[in-house]
Each structure stands twice: as C-alpha cells, then as structure tokens.
Symmetry: C2
C-alpha cells in the first residue's frame, strides 16, 4: 500500500465530508449515533471475535499486562460503548448556537455562531472504545474525523468502524464522515499530522512519549494532554476532616489517572497534627511515601524524596510529601514543579482561597475538593474527548464545545462603513 | 551581540514578569497605561526625532513609498497613539471574570475563570504605532509581551518602548513586562518562535510572506492572519439599492484592507439589471474590473478574469466579477476560492440568508452589510490586536478576550469523588 496516496485520499474525502456533516441537522446526527449504538450491540459477537485476534497477537508480541488489559473488550464494555453513543445523542447540539447578538452604534447587529472545526484527526493507543467515543463526539459536533488507533487494536477498531458506517448510512450521511485508518503502517501518522490542507486539528490521546513526538513533528494545531503532576496543599487554616478526606481521595481513589495527586504539600503549622494520621491511611493502602527532611522527621516511614520526585507523574502507588512554610511557598512549589493540570487547596480562609485560585496557573484550580473531580463528566460537559493542558482554544476537560469554534455573524439592512 | 543568549534572557525575564502582571489589579494596569500615554505625549519630539532617523535610513535603503508611508510618525499619529492607550485603559478588565458557576450533582460548584495566556510574542512590520498598541493590549489582558518590530522602525520603537517602561515603573510594575527587542538581527525572530518554555503564543502581524515563513518555522502556537479574499454575493432576491450601496462600499471605501471585497458574485437573475450601474460606479472610481465571460457580455469594459484572479487578494484597485447561477454556485465559489475571512450576501430572502450564514465557513459572515465592518472596533471589542483567520482559539477580530484563556475553578466543602 502506498501510504502517502492512501492518506491523501482519506484527507480529501474527509474535507468533502466535513462540508456535509457541518450542515447536517440535529435529528440526522442523532439518528446516526443511535443506529451505530444498535449496530454495536447487534455486532457484539463479531467485535469480540475481532478483539480476540488483536489480543492473541498482543500476547504473541508479549505486550505487558496493562496494555493487554486496556485492549480487551467484553460484552459489558461493548454495552457501555453503545450506551455512551446513546448518551452523546442525548446531549444538546452545540452547532449553530448564536450568542451575544447585539446592536452596535453603526446599526449593524453582531453575534457569534458556534460552528464545527472541520476535520479532526485523532491519534490514540490501545483502548478500542475510543474509536466509538471519538467518532460520536466528532459527529455530534458536526466534524468529520480521521481516527488512527493503535496497531495492536486494528481488528477491533475496524469492527467498530463498520458499525459507525452502518449508522452514518442509515442517517443518509456519507461513510467518509468518520474514517478509521486501515493500515498499521506508522507512516500514516506522519502523513496525518502534516496534511494541513485536509486536517484542522489533531487530538492525540496517549502517553507522554507519543505526545512529545507529535509536538515535534505536527504541522497542524493540536489539542493535547501532556501530563498531570497534581498537588493538594493543606493550609494551616484547613479543616482537619476535610483535609484528611480530600488528601486521601485525591491519591487513592484511583492511582493511574492524570488528575490523581502526585505531590502533597502541607503547611508547617498543621504538619505535626495531620501527617501522622494521613500517612497511616496511605501506608495502610500500600502507598509508598517520599518526603522532604521535615516530613520524614514527623513520619519516619517515609523514603527521602529526590529533586526529580517533585517533577514526577507517578501514576502509581507513590506519593511525594513536602512541608512548606506557607501559601507563598506552596504556590512557588506548584509553579516550579507542577504541570498546570489540576491543583487544590484545603483551607477555611477565604483570602488564601482567593489567592490560590488566582495565582495558580493550572487548567483546574480547586478549593476544598478532590483533584479527582477534574473530568468532563464531573464538570457537567456530558462527555469528554480528553483533558487539555494547553492554554489556547480549550483548557481542562474538553467536551463538545471544544470541538467547535465561534464565527462572527453580522446582520444589517444595507449598512455600509462610513 | 550573542542573539541566542540575549533572546533567552529576554524570554526568562518575560516568564518571570508574566507571573507578576497576571495578578496585577485593574487600577495598577490602568495607571501604567495612562502614564505611558502621558509619557508619549511629553516625548513627542524625541519620538519624532528617532522616527526621522528611521525614515532617513529607509529612504537611503530605497524602501518603496508605501513602506515609508507606514513608517512615518507625525504629532497627529503620536497623539492618536496616546489616545489609544487611554481608550484601552477604559476598557473592562477581562482577567478574573468567573462565568457559568454552577452546582453539579456531586455537590461541587464549577465555573470558568478568564486568565492571561502568559507570555505573548508579537512580530510585526513597519508601523511603529503597533508597539504602543500591542504593548497596551497585552498589559491590560495581564500578559507579558516580547515585541519584535521591523528593523526599519528600530529607533522609533525604542523611543516608544522607553515611554512604556516609564508607565510600568510609575505603576510599580517591572519593566520586563513589556520588552521590545533591541536588535535588528533576523536571528532574533528564529529564537522567539522556538522558545517554547518562555513564550505561550506568537501573534504575527505582517504580509503573507512573513506569516508563511513563521508557519513553517514556529514551534509555538500562533494567532495569525493569513489573507483575506472576501466576497459579496448579490442574490437575485437582493434589494437593488442595498446591493449597490454594499457592493460599492465593500470595494471602494478602502482598497488596501483585508476586509475589502476582492470578488463580486452576482446571481444570473439580477446581473443584467445591476451590473451596468454598479460597474459604472467602479469604473468612475478607477477600479479595474476582471470578469468571467458572462459578466463581460454585460459590461464589455471588463478584462477577462483568469483562474488565478479568483484566488487573489489584490489589496488594490482591481475587482474580480463573476456571474453565478444561484446561491449554491455562490457558496461553492466561496468555498473553493475564498480564504475564510469575511463574506457577505445581499438578499431579502430569509431562507437563503440563513443558508449563507450556516454554510459559508468564514470568520465573519454577513447579511446585507458591507464586509468592511469586519473589525474589532466595529464589532464592539473596543480594540483589536488583529484579525484571526485561524479556527482554533480566536476567530475573526481579536480583542482583549483573545489574549486570555479560561481555566476551571471548582469549589467544594470537603467533597471527594465517589
């Protein structure tokens, strides 16, 4: 297969399809989504058979257990996938909303209309359910999509793609609205991220290694998630119980997610009181603690944290702990070592809370709540294509709105510029 | 001068200053702006003397008249520059606005806070007034800025920069909030657009050649204006007088601006009636007309348009004219040849107007108004850093809001994730 001409063909078709899906009405898009959901439920056995091929090949290639775990589809995950499509069909259509329409001194009326971005390229790894999820979000937001899944999930993704095509056809939409790349050749990614004429935005979903490679090579704007070194700062004016509950939940509710706390900062004035009971919780749950000198004098079971620990997103049962003098030092620490993802303060002091949310430059800043809430569903977006650690366009959890843009609409009655 | 280490120093200082200006209160920022305005008025003679040096050098280097014209500062343009700063001081501060704060089923309260982008790099040509203007917009929106003007305006820009530093100092802000590059070495641009650690966004203002070069070489996201091939479509259900007025104004009110009409599309059903009087207006004003075969049979004074004319942004006294069958062909033409900048329809038919604003994918779409309105001031933004032809982040005229981003703020009362 000539990957370059294949990808150029995919791009050309996506650009043409984008015009049609952009103007498709809400009912048509919802029909495509619900029929896709039904097709996935009906094809459950076919999808599982395709998935079994992928899993067998992955075992043969000796992929690690975590990767195989992410790959496996079951009747339950397939039902969840179908349900996800139905949920996206139920969300309000973001396209066409006109906001802020105002008369101006010249007599013209100006507002902004929410419109699709055009063609979205999505590059992802392992989890085949992303295929259905990303397809649905792009479709609902009026975008054409080019999906490039991991080579290890090729057969699963193709089986899901067939269901999406069935939904599109039933709704009278071209199959090319959602195209799933059919080759596992890595050159396809290189083409995708440089086809400026055909692709408006790239959304990568994967590990830091993939993202960094794409940052170097992409010629197309990206909405991306780099990493999450999230902090909880327990202020000396914190409520003791809230602090205990939040610091526990932020670390241990789930270990491997990007919004999990990686570093706990504790004010000197409360450290002696809160660290012993809090660290007992962590140690009982099998969390390894790495503290600075002061923290270790309070909880001797801690290992010594090295400079690099403060920068590290563990995604594992490890937590860094540092005792800081005050809010200023906490903010300095977060500014120096953080990744501008999600950071929380626990305090009853409103002035400090206001300072924290103003001065910490992260995509989510929280007062008296667990960092684990940084999530599209928890924020009420209804669905999530990812969490952006960028500052431009979309920041934090990205839902349907993040897949759209605003254009100006102007109404006159023969008005001209003086 | 070692340009690389100079630029790295500028970047490091900008990053540090960004933290301070981000949290500066409104009164402080306004003081810096008003003192800068006073300093510019007071230093009027010094600025003009510096400008005279630039102009003399430009003449010596035989720059064309248009370039020299853009370079020249007069007491009047300097007063306008100072007034622009005062106007920006009067605009509402976008930073810190919290919107959409809502309770969610989990009990947390989630909203979005408007925050500065961080460090903005601006690359521009000729016009020295951009130095004051861009500095003011970045400052008011809480950003640090690195300004790189054209080498031909070096002395003028430095004289203005001194006034900006005076304003910053008077307000107790570090001078490094706004840094104007002091070397005309082109390598400085290469450094600026690749210092990802220090610069959050690049805003280029200049000709297509500059922008295309930066698109190839920049490793930092850009808010950019590429070109404007703007259309007016006169529908066969247009009001005759409105059509005449708008088509005249869109082309002839100013020839060299990006929102000037470059191609006129006329529906077959009205062409015979409107083209003769309309083209008489154009020809009387010295506009060269380049039409398709049908248009030329109606107005024989037209030259024949070639394929490349439909793609061309003339920025001059030339207009392409095409007779189209209907709205569909007009939209097809705009989609094929347009630059997604600003396009207008003249019609009394509401269904066609609705189709036009929905299906034309441009940063501004207009009904019965002149394309010349596509402008930050005319849209009520109060000021404009430029017009974006990008789809991500900011689209169309970009004011203070375009220099900011939204972060999520979450308030709980000890809430944890279940």
């Amino acid at each position: 297969m000539d990957v370059q001409s294949y990808m150029q063909g995919v791009g050309r078709q996506a650009r043409a399809a984008a015009r049609l899906i952009a103007r498709a009405d809400t009912a048509t898009k919802n029909k495509a989504l619900t029929v896709t959901a039904q097709a996935i439920e009906r094809a459950s056995q076919t999808v599982i058979a395709a998935n079994a091929r992928d899993v067998a090949e992955a075992r043969h290639k000796k992929l690690d257990d975590a990767a195989i775990d992410r790959l496996i589809l079951t009747p339950k995950t397939i039902a969840a996938m179908a349900d996800g499509l139905v949920q996206i069909a139920k969300l309000a259509d973001p396209v066409g909303e006109i906001s802020g329409l105002k008369f101006l001194p010249s007599g013209i009326q100006v507002g902004q209309m929410r419109v699709p971005l055009g063609v979205v390229g999505i590059i992802y790894e392992s989890r085949p359910n992303v295929t259905a999820d990303a397809a649905a979000l792009c479709l609902k937001s009026g975008n054409a999509a080019i999906l490039r899944g991991g080579s290890e999930a090729l057969h699963s993704n193709q089986a899901i793609a067939a269901c999406v095509r069935e939904g599109l056809t039933a709704a009278g939409l071209p199959e090319t609205v959602i195209q799933v790349i059919e080759t596992s050749d890595r050159a396809a990614v290189g083409e995708l991220i440089t086809m400026q004429d055909y692709v408006d935005v790239i959304i990568p979903r994967g590990g830091k290694g993939l993202i960094e490679r794409l940052m170097r090579e992409s010629r197309i704007p990206m909405i991306k998630h780099l990493h999450g070194v999230c902090h909880v700062y327990i202020d000396d004016k914190a409520d003791f119980d809230k602090a205990l509950r939040i610091a526990d939940n932020a670390k241990t509710q789930r270990l491997g997610t990007c919004n999990t706390m990686e570093t706990l900062l504790v004010a000197r004035g409360i450290a002696q009181k809160i660290l012993p009971p809090l660290c007992k919780i962590y140690l009982d749950k099998g969390i390894e603690l790495r503290g600075d000198e002061t923290a270790r004098t309070i909880v001797p079971q801690m290992n010594l944290a090295r400079e690099e620990d403060w920068y590290t997103e563990y995604l594992a049962a490890i937590l860094s702990v540092r005792v800081v003098n005050d809010l200023d030092q906490a903010i300095d620490h977060i500014t120096t070592y953080g990744s501008q993802h999600t950071d929380a303060i626990v305090t009853e002091d409103i002035t400090r809370a206001r300072r924290f949310i103003t001065e910490v430059d992260s995509s989510s800043v929280m007062v008296n709540a667990s960092t684990r809430f940084a999530d599209g569903y928890e924020y009420g977006l209804g669905a999530e294509i990812g969490i952006s650690t960028d500052k431009l366009h979309a920041r934090g959890p990205v839902g349907l709105e993040g897949l759209t843009s605003l254009k100006y609409v102007v109404f006159g009655d023969g008005h001209v510029r003086k």
